[in-house]
């Protein structure tokens, strides 16, 4: 009993927020992770929205190109994509910088992470949003067109609000994937939660303490976002009959 208490006290000291403890490092890593996840999710949503519109209403070439984009991204491991996009991104930026007469540019980890994960998220978001837009009863969009509403206004006022309830479950999943995919950036050396944890663990050799603590942090993020997305879904469905009754 005393020993167990002592063991826990040691872990608590290791995790404490002040200097000898590593708690602050973990929290900093978590903040980095969340920042990248937010950015990537947002960028994925933008790509996904345009991608979905392109796939539904675009010309044949655009549609084929988007099909290639979504297929390739979904068939190749994220880790490989991260490496490819990371090198391509830094090379491109350096080429552009050289052409404009600047020297080599150092790219911040957060920006690179958002760029890389955003492109990956975009492929998944394209599919989610395409399905959601298709699930909107066509009569609603036709009605908007019949009023002479411009395309962009139709999208903002009719399509997006009407598809929200269909898209939220898929988007919630995507957000969870985004938070978990930030861990992959540890392999490329960004100081997000998983890498901070590993550094803390290997310098104190208290592997279980730190990895379990990081797992707890990730789980907390997951559970909280689950609750938030349940709220959003409820809000998106306001005024709709329950889906079970509504579906034909």
């Amino acid at each position: 009993m005393v020993l167990e208490w002592l063991g826990l006290a040691e872990s608590a000291a290791l995790l404490s927020l002040s200097a000898p403890g590593w708690g602050m490092n973990l929290l900093r890593g978590l903040a980095n992770s969340l920042q990248i996840a937010f950015g990537a999710f947002g960028m994925g949503l933008m790509i996904g929205l345009f991608g979905a519109y392109g796939k539904l209403y675009g010309g044949p070439i655009l549609r084929d190109l988007l099909a290639i984009y979504t297929t390739v991204i979904r068939a190749v491991p994220e880790l490989v994509l991260i490496l490819i996009l990371y090198y391509v991104g830094t090379d491109l930026i350096n080429k552009v910088a050289q052409m404009l007469g600047y020297g080599r540019v150092e790219i911040s980890g957060v920006v690179a992470g958002i760029w890389v994960l955003g492109i990956v998220q975009g492929a998944y978001a394209t599919e989610v949003l395409r399905g959601a837009i298709q699930a909107v009863p066509p009569g609603q969009i036709e009605a908007a067109r019949a009023y002479g509403m411009p395309a962009f206004l139709t999208m903002r006022r009719v399509t997006i609000p009407a598809m929200m309830s269909f898209a939220t479950p898929g988007l919630a999943n995507l957000w969870l994937i985004a938070t978990k995919d930030t861990a992959l950036l540890a392999v490329v050396g960004f100081n997000e939660l998983t890498l901070e944890t590993k550094q803390a663990a290997s310098s104190t050799r208290a592997y279980f303490t730190f990895f379990l603590a990081a797992g707890g942090l990730y789980l907390m993020v997951t559970l909280c976002s689950g609750a938030v997305f349940a709220r959003i879904e409820k809000w998106a469905r306001r005024g709709q009959p329950s889906l079970r009754e509504g579906g034909s």
Partner: protein
């Protein structure tokens, strides 16, 4: 539809020609002289990737059946731990799980003399048992959730019919419930298997030499960046395509009577 298709041909041909040109450009102007030297290692890595994928999906699926069953019909003392397991596995990154098992257990085991002297020790000192364990648990966690839905999705009438025949419970499970549940989720399982394939490169971070690790080695040995990565991406796409084809074949074997 066929008229539309023939209309769409020219631009498709153009795209294909562009793709062919790209491949040709890759073949001619990029460096491929490293291939002969690393080909044996790459084949070994490919084999490692494939066996890890097969072993972990099979074991994980076997583990997912009781997990799904416990969540679907189990009493609370079985369903609550199963649900907790699935939540934890699905709520934390796989990389973290792999590192927890490898570094955590790997630093714990040597402290016990009886483990060090046991027969298993030579295996426990290598990395692959931890890789297999982590990937199996992860697949089981995701599949447990899928199988929960699958088990509760089987039509009640089927089970009642089996019961009214006086079929023993286990036979009923083996002959009626499980096959129908698996049939219903075959497309999902195909997608999850491709996801599992995409998770395998993570084990390279704990020194298992699979195909991703081979490409990293080429990169660090020769400083050639894009060529091994492109080849690697192509290899994964081929494997993913093969998995998709295999599952399509499974799905076609399922008699459809709806």
């Amino acid at each position: 539809m066929s008229g539309l298709k023939s209309l769409m041909q020219p631009h498709r041909i153009l795209l294909m020609a562009l793709f062919g040109a790209f491949v040709l450009w890759c073949a001619l102007s990029l460096r491929w002289d490293w291939i002969p030297k690393y080909a044996p290692l790459a084949l070994e890595g490919l084999w490692t990737t494939i066996w890890i994928l097969v072993v972990t999906t099979v074991l994980g699926f076997l583990l997912a059946i009781p997990l799904g069953l416990a969540q679907a019909i189990g009493p609370w003392y079985l369903s609550a731990p199963a649900r907790l397991f699935c939540t934890v596995i699905r709520g934390t990154p796989l990389l973290l799980q792999i590192w927890l098992l490898y570094y955590g257990l790997g630093s714990l085991f040597p402290q016990f003399p009886w483990i060090r002297s046991s027969e298993l020790w030579p295996y426990l000192r290598q990395a692959w048992p931890y890789a297999v364990l982590a990937l199996t648990l992860s697949y089981a966690g995701y599949e447990g959730e899928v199988m929960r839905g699958a088990f509760s999705g089987v039509a009640k009438g089927q089970l009642e019919a089996a019961k009214s025949f006086g079929m023993p419970r286990f036979t009923m499970f083996r002959r009626i419930w499980l096959p129908q549940a698996i049939r219903n989720v075959l497309p999902t399982l195909g997608g999850e298997t491709i996801l599992q394939l995409k998770a395998t490169p993570l084990v390279a971070t704990i020194t298992v030499v699979e195909i991703y690790a081979v490409s990293s080695r080429v990169r660090s040995d020769t400083f050639i960046v894009y060529e091994p990565l492109l080849l690697l991406a192509a290899a994964y796409m081929v494997i993913a395509g093969l998995i998709a084809l295999a599952f399509k074949r499974f799905e076609n074997q399922v008699p459809e009577r709806r």
